[in-house]
């Protein structure tokens, strides 16, 4: 059955249902026993190791079970010292990390400098096959434990040195002033000894140092987390625990919320967006998250990289009516983008509305003019590559193409180019065999402007799928990383971003919001910048 047919039916089904009844989502009763929050979950794709978890479902659990050196404030996104007492440097390259005393894992083992250093060395070692190992690539000695090919020549990174139980030093391979602010990411969490001595046992039931401990875990079905009473941090759980139930279909989770069988869904299905306000009223959350969607150009393809093509890329960006698409197709769960970062960074963090200027403003006549000046679309037509299996990208890609076609007054100027599976789509991009502009999404790892720019647009960046390269941009990023004053660093990053606004290696489309809905059994529900519910603050009853 095709996705769109299925969608249509589901919309009809819910529309009929809604007109037939007032469809109140209210009605208490039930509720989690003993202050337990019952929440929806998706099956994690990889084993629940901190350095091996790169998707949000596994990350959710890690963020409940672990605490790291830093923690991002769920409201402001500011990185605060958590287990770290201080992280100091005089040269932006050598850091000394001092830990607060008294932190423990839930099995009683104290959290020491070794807990961090051993965990990071494990994450970086190539033979451990950790998907997030590139996060350690800034640390000196990474090349020895993680060579581009062949066997590692060392088992531990030379840049990490334990001074005593509460202190360790880190030497980076380059200057990186905001590096300490990246340490709230889950890849940097500490690990207890049992992780190394009884790996299989630990994976069955991970043990961490966070406000929750895992009570039981039935893979693919349910995870029961309970408040850990021995937790000494400031962000103790305000509920008795969280039951995470795996749902394969977000529609079912939403139905279960309406039926009162669960309390919290953090993925509102697209088909229900029309009803959700009526169903849940104030218990529906729609707020910005650190996700931006773009259309990236294959800058490795001479057809798109020619000197005159800059105008064409600018023109295409101006041909897209972002406001209509976000309101009609996404029902305001996206916000038109006017820079390459995200509003969750805040003005201090480097978000600057309107930085993109005219290039991101809808202007059909100007678009047509620029594209003509640049020599027209290569081959007279552009295609937008996307994967057809997940995420229902077809609708917005078609809408974007429609908008471009209308602006140019040519019905054949733009069409979507679906690729069957996400894996195949990614393979085409990484092997540079994708010759069309393609959809690209970026979810931040940590709330820093650096994370929105360096991995994506720096020469050889870990996610620079366009393979765009610009010496001035690289220079400004390096300069920003070496800057000790964070305001100046942000200024340098924004200057670098202005180069993106001229060259447009990727068109910013919109900022994605986080969506959630909850039952009347629970209150104090909020999402953080990663669009993950702040579980430990939820109160029951």
């Amino acid at each position: 059955m095709s996705g769109s047919a299925r969608l249509k039916w589901a919309v009809c089904a819910s529309a009929i249902a809604l007109t037939a009844t007032a469809c109140g989502g209210g009605g208490g009763g039930g509720g989690g026993a003993n202050g337990i929050v019952r929440a929806s979950w998706g099956d994690p794709q990889h084993p629940l190791e901190p350095a091996n978890t790169n998707e949000v479902q596994g990350g959710k659990v890690l963020d409940m079970v672990f605490r790291g050196l830093k923690k991002y404030d769920p409201k402001t996104g500011a990185a605060q010292n958590w287990i770290a007492d201080s992280i100091s440097t005089s040269d932006q390259q050598n850091f000394t990390v001092k830990l607060k005393p008294g932190w423990k894992f839930s099995n009683g083992e104290p959290v020491t400098a070794h807990s961090f250093v051993d965990a990071w060395n494990y994450g970086a070692l190539v033979t451990n096959k950790q998907l997030n190992s590139s996060f350690f690539s800034y640390i000196d000695g990474y090349g020895q434990v993680h060579p581009g090919s062949g066997n590692p020549t060392a088992q531990a990174m030379s840049g990490l040195v334990v001074k005593d139980d509460q202190t360790f030093t880190v030497k980076l391979s380059q200057k990186f002033s905001t590096w300490p602010d990246t340490l709230g990411y889950s890849a940097f969490y500490p690990l207890p000894r049992t992780f190394f001595t009884d790996h299989a046992g630990w994976l069955q039931k991970p043990v961490g140092d966070g406000p929750y401990a895992i009570d039981s875990y039935t893979k693919g079905s349910i995870m029961r987390l309970r408040k850990w009473d021995g937790y000494t941090g400031d962000d103790k759980a305000k509920n008795g625990g969280v039951d995470l139930r795996v749902y394969t279909d977000s529609n079912t989770a939403y139905t279960d919320l309406q039926a009162g069988n669960i309390d919290l869904v953090d993925d509102i299905p697209a088909t229900q967006l029309r009803n959700v306000k009526r169903d849940l009223g104030p218990r529906y959350i729609n707020q910005p998250a650190g996700i931006i969607q773009t259309i990236a150009f294959p800058m490795y393809d001479p057809r798109w990289n020619g000197t005159s093509m800059q105008k064409v890329r600018q023109g295409i960006s101006m041909a897209i009516d972002r406001a209509s698409i976000t309101s009609k197709i996404f029902l305001n769960t996206r916000t038109p983008a006017t820079d390459w970062t995200s509003p969750v960074l805040g003005d201090k963090g480097g978000y600057k509305a309107g930085l993109c200027g005219g290039v991101c403003t809808y202007s059909p006549s100007q678009a047509k003019k620029l594209i003509q000046e640049g020599g027209g679309l290569p081959g007279g037509q552009m295609k937008i590559g996307y994967n057809a299996d997940t995420g229902s990208h077809k609708e917005w890609v078609d809408a974007v193409c429609n908008s471009i076609n209308n602006s140019l007054g040519n019905d054949r100027a733009c069409v979507g180019a679906p690729v069957g599976t996400f894996a195949d789509f990614r393979n085409q991009i990484t092997s540079k065999s994708e010759t069309n502009p393609f959809r690209a999404g970026w979810q931040m790892d940590y709330p820093l402007i650096q994370d929105f720019l360096q991995p994506l647009y720096y020469t050889g960046g870990s996610s620079n799928d366009s393979h765009w390269s610009n010496a001035d941009f690289d220079k400004l990023v390096d300069q920003a990383n070496a800057e000790s004053d964070s305001a100046k660093a942000v200024g340098d990053f924004q200057d670098a971003e202005k180069i993106l606004a001229q060259q447009v290696p990727a068109i910013p489309l919109w900022y994605q919001n986080g969506n959630a809905g909850y039952s009347s059994n629970i209150s104090n529900v909020a999402l953080n910048q990663f669009s993950v519910p702040v579980y430990n603050d939820i109160t029951v009853g």
Partner: protein, 307 residues
């Protein structure tokens, strides 16, 4: 009979090898799964190479297939990407799907045959038209429509059942998905039974049975129904396999963590061991069900003998 069974079992070997090879090649043709594991981030080549080596993906396809088959015969079905052995996934998924299948099978068998008998005995009358109309409706509505509609009305609006199946799949929760899953097959069973019953009702042996004064109930159960069930049994037998494998949509709607759920995830994440492993077991189920159906013929119709 014994020789027949042995011959049939031997015939299963090439079918088994052929299907597994076919599925293996098809999953392989979907492309390299490693790139997708890194999400929107470009894969780190060194880590990707390690993962490929670990999953045996750095060998040619025929070697991968031999390696995989070798594993299967020593009881090792490989490992899913989340680190769980596929055998573990099977041991959690198959019992759940089996329960759902049993519920659906019971519903379609009992209600389907009863409706078919009713319609066949009263051919051309109101009951017959009613059953034909009802079954036409069941056949023409897609499973997900009945699924979502029943889920909404029965579970959310009238609160008679849970919209999603709880852990461990208790039978009470499985009735609703069972009805949805059985729906289309139920219609076929009813129609097959109706035609067969209508045809046999005019047969000579029925007239004889009635003429010699046999009670009506016995005529129907011992003569009419028994002879009319042969095509229905064929259908029901092959349908066991269909129900077990075809529950992907129903299992998704009602959040049943069974075979369909694992297959769906396996395909979405391009995980060859999960997909091939589950399909292999399903192939075995199909083969066994077919054999069982053929043997049942002999029981239902003494004229059929196997040597």
């Amino acid at each position: 009979m014994g020789r027949y069974v042995i011959r049939r079992l031997l015939q299963m070997v090439p079918v088994f090898i052929g299907t597994t090879l076919l599925i293996f090649v098809m999953v392989y043709a979907l492309g390299d799964p490693v790139a997708a594991m890194f999400g929107d981030r470009a894969p780190d080549p060194a880590t990707a190479a390690q993962i490929r080596h670990n999953l045996y993906l750095d060998h040619p396809l025929w070697q991968q297939y031999l390696h995989y088959m070798q594993g299967i015969f020593s009881g090792d079905f490989g490992t899913a990407f989340d680190g769980q052995p596929v055998t573990q996934l099977m041991s959690s998924a198959f019992p759940v799907t089996l329960r759902l299948t049993l519920v659906a099978f019971a519903i379609e068998g009992i209600i389907g045959i009863a409706l078919g008998l009713l319609a066949g005995m009263r051919r051309g009358r109101f009951a017959d038209t009613g059953v034909l109309g009802f079954t036409l409706l069941m056949i023409s509505i897609p499973v997900f429509v009945t699924g979502y509609l029943l889920q909404y009305f029965v579970a959310v609006k009238w609160q008679l059942a849970n919209p999603a199946v709880a852990d461990g799949a208790p039978f009470g929760d499985l009735i609703l998905p069972g009805i949805v899953l059985a729906g289309v097959s139920l219609a076929y069973v009813a129609r097959l039974t109706r035609t067969s019953v209508a045809e046999n009702a005019r047969a000579d042996y029925i007239r004889t049975a009635v003429a010699k004064g046999m009670p009506r109930r016995r005529v129907i159960s011992a003569h009419l129904l028994r002879n009319s069930l042969i095509p229905v049994v064929t259908f029901l037998g092959t349908d066991i396999g269909n129900l077990m494998a075809g529950a992907v949509v129903t299992e998704r709607i009602f959040n049943v963590k069974g075979v369909g759920f694992q297959l769906y995830q396996g395909i979405l994440r391009q995980n060859p061991p999960t997909v091939v492993g589950f399909v292999t077991i399903l192939v075995l189920v199909f083969l066994a069900a077919n054999l069982l159906v053929d043997l049942l013929y002999a029981v239902l119709d003494p004229r059929i003998r196997y040597a």
